[in-house]
Amino acid sequence: MTLPASELEIHETAAPGGDDSVVNVAGRSPTQLAIARFRADRLSMISFVLTVLIIVCAIAAPILVAVGVLHPNDFNQDLLSDDGVTPSGKFGGVSWSHPFGVDPGAGRDLLSRLMLAITSSLTIALTGTIITVIIGAVLGIVAGFSGGFVDAVVGRIIDLTLSFPQTMMLLALAGPVVQMLRGDVSKVPGLGFLSGPDLSNGLFVIVILAAFGWPPVARVVRGQVLSIREREFIEAARLFGASRSRLYFKEVLPNVWAPVLVYVTLLVPAYISAEAAFNFLGVGIKPPTPTLGNILAESVSYTSADPTYFFLPGILLALIVVVFNLVGDGARDALDPKSHR
């Protein structure tokens, strides 16, 4: 006991009293540990901040349009040069009132259009991801936990879905399904206000993304569940007479969250670029409502006449995809400290 400030002594003096030393002994859950690891990674944190900024942008854009700060659909013919197509001035008509310039042909403010495009693209991507994950997680858990016949059936459905020619389906079904969605959605009582071509076009993209996106999620979840259901804590829960829903949602689900979360963060950028690609093929939300996809599709024809209009949406799309992917990578590293890149 000659070491005055040793940990040993602190422990010994604190232990008999007890109360002071044991008040705050709350353990850190695996989730809290993962968050701590995530915060320690600088690149992930920068990407995370940017992701949050993008999401804030997406939420703010429609509000700013409603308030009258952004004007995505105002035509400014006076800002176009004499040919009536390309914007006058350098870099696509960049000015203080139009920091990103205006779009050729109509002279609409590009910043407003891009911000609103983020809103529609992110909405489609996030909704698609959520539906994908719900379908995938539920089918994966049921297949993995039940095994046997159910597992075999789900497995064959997965094979069937994966072997379907997705792009062909997309193009072939676009016309009739969009029509059907337009009619049906407006018939649902209380959803009349949702009708309109943007909604049915957007819904079609979401349906296609979810319908063909769930199999990998189901496979990942099923694989996890297969290893978890053999662990003894599942038997212990059964021994207490735990119900099926308790087994699924309290014992199994918290243990498959990590890979699902990683998959979600990687699915969002994939769906954002998928939406852009669909628009290129002529499927999806049509102008004048802006999406990253339809702005890009339109800008391709102006590569030489107005390079700013071509590059800005492209760079923005690339930035969003990269940032979301980096967050996903960071999440994977944080949730699975044993994996190495």
């Binding site: 003894e232 059964r238 309290k250």
Partner: protein, 421 residues
Amino acid sequence: MKDEMSDESANAGMVGMAHEMADDRALAARAAGHGAAVAMPGAKPILEVDRLRMYFPVKSPGLFRRTVGQVQAVDGVSFQVAEATSLGLVGESGCGKSTTGRLITRLYKPTGGAIRFEGQDIADAKPAELKPLRREIQMIFQDPYTSLNPRQTVGSIVGAPLAIHKVLPKDKILPRVQELLEIVGLNPEHYNRYPHEFSGGQRQRIGIARALTLQPKLLVADEPVSALDVSIQAQVINLLQDIQNEFGVAFLFIAHDLAIVRHFCPEIAVMYLGKIVEIGDRDSIYSNAHHPYTQALLSAVPDVKQAASGSRIERIRLQGDVPSPIEPPSGCRFRTRCPIAQEICARHEPPLLQIGKRHKVACHFPGRLGQAPREPLTAGLLGVDSEGRPDPGASPSTDLVEQPGYADTWFDLDNKSIGRA
């Protein structure tokens, strides 16, 4: 030549004796009304397992999974566990010990046989009927690293049974959890920590606390210490003994460590390939083993005293591997590795004969190490000759059904007579 002669005459006497004994035993059993024999006068059995069988189907791969075979994991196991005592179940890997434990806790549904817990047969009970039983029979698992959900705090792990069975209001659960943590020697303030913050021994204590939550009467301990290092093993075993003394819990103690079983269990059953080959009280098994498999198992136990004096018993090395339980050998399942196996062993399965007050053995040639009889003792009982072929003149005993517990009469092999309680 001379030796053989004398042996043969002696054996002839034995066979005759076996006949007499069989008749005598049958009479005794009939007098007892075929009821399961009482184990100990004072202690009534809390658990009685009667000819329990578990066959796992082996299925072909693919969508249409036909059953192509059966793994006979447990095949006709009978024993009793008395209140507040321990029965040790030993045997090598894959012999069906753990399956037996999981059948008794009804994690598996048995293929056949009866499991009577406090007189009630639970072998065919439906999930709804099982729920009250879950409070009475609990289990301690082998691996403390997989038996606790890593995403739940210790408090919710230990308190989960209380929440599921709604035995306590929500605000009373935490005090009870802390009480349980204190009983198993953990800091009660650690209830909101996660399993990964504890060592293996501490985790096993959490598992024990969880098993105790509903105050069970029977604990199935499935190799509770084999995943721990030796110094921790002793602590956990002592904890289990304290719990048994304090709460009067009966244990079915599954293990492969013979030294620990000897320390913990007054009664031991030795399993081989899904069957009990020898069962008896501690002394009968450890100093008076009559089955060649039990003798081989015991000779494999390292003994410090003998090693020090330099005079150790020669180890019996069993040849070959354990046969597949999908296609077990005909007759006696141990015969493929048995040093004293003969013709009859391939033809007939040896019945579990009671050879002491609390000692049963399933062997055609039961005897102490090196003193096995040359002629099968059981031939007369089975109505066959010493080679196992049917003997038209013999009158086979009809009372060889293996029941749990012990009878009041037995074959006294030393005195070649009928022993009585």
